[in-house]
């Protein structure tokens, strides 16, 4: 039910300190304050979050699915970009 009065918002939740906000879904709300409340009511009912961001969906610039080949395929042949070829000294532990 997207109308000019209830635009779409994207919701990002940070579940723990030290983690990044993660996209969890979207909702409709009249403005930023109501979007934040709706996000709290819909996406944090089971203790999922410590912090919420809401962003107007219209503020997001998305890549065009039609550009997929040009955008992403060139990276597929460059396996040397993965850090799996480096020897890591034992003293470093987990990276």
């Amino acid at each position: 039910m997207s109308t000019p009065n209830t635009p779409l918002w994207e919701v990002f939740i940070r579940s723990r300190n030290g983690l990044a906000h993660k996209h969890v879904g979207s909702l409709h709300a009249s403005d930023a304050t109501m979007a934040l409340q709706a996000a709290r009511d819909i996406y944090t009912r089971r203790g999922e979050g410590l912090s919420i961001w809401v962003v107007p969906s219209s503020a997001i610039t998305a890549s065009d699915p039609a550009d997929k080949a040009m955008m992403f395929e060139p990276a597929e042949s460059k396996i040397y970009r993965h850090p799996t070829f480096y020897e890591i000294p034992d003293e470093v532990g987990h990276m």
């Binding site: 039910m1 209830t6 909702l27 409709h28 709300a29 009249s30 304050t33 109501m34 409340q37 709706a38 709290r40 009511d41 819909i42 009912r45």
Partner: protein, 258 residues
Amino acid sequence: MMVANIQVSETPLVLYTLRRADDALILGHRLSEWSGHAPILEEDMALSNMALDLLGQARELFSYAAKVEGKNNDEDKLAYLREERQYRNLLLVERPNGDFSQTMVRQLFYSAFADLYWRAMMKSSDATLAAIAAKSEKESAYHLRHASEWVIRLGDGTEESHRRAQAAIDDLWALTGEMFSVESGERGLIDAGIAVDPETLRAQWRRTISDVMIEATLALPTNDWMQQGGRSGRHSEHLGYLLSELQHMQRTYQGLTW
């Protein structure tokens, strides 16, 4: 066969706790009536969340009332097996949901009080009530914020939403005075530091409501005549219908569980 009414030994502390439990139970039930019917999905969830908060408060208060009473009653019996006159909730909370603005104005009036009330009750000399207050205060603070934001938007929204919000305020205003009444037997609890004197909350409540009204471009009625009755069991015709639905399963199948 219908399960019979229970008897309750209504000592001052039992009765005092039941009054607060009944407020939460009845308002929670009213809000739950919106489940699946709210104007948008987001608000459906918000109303259900508030209903569950209130139901949780009611459960703790009923359990405590049963414990204080020390008879054979428990939270379910107190919630489901009393007759209408034994319910002592505010007339405000039994009012039907009406349109969305009626529900939100009712929630604003109640939550603005509950927020102050529970915050003050955190200092109660009764440890259980103080603990219930500490949990309930956070919930009420959110209910107040949610209802305030909605009333501001309804009042300062379209011509129709403004008209409906103002009508809700005019309609419900006379039921707000009962929140500040001190019933017989309660003065002793106040003097003992168990209960809060609601009179000490009135000025701040009025300020909270007035601030919302100004932002919402709405006006409070100038007539301050107030209707009483719920606290002493004299209810509007609406409560009986609510109770028949609320009690149906426990009246028909005593002790039924999920």
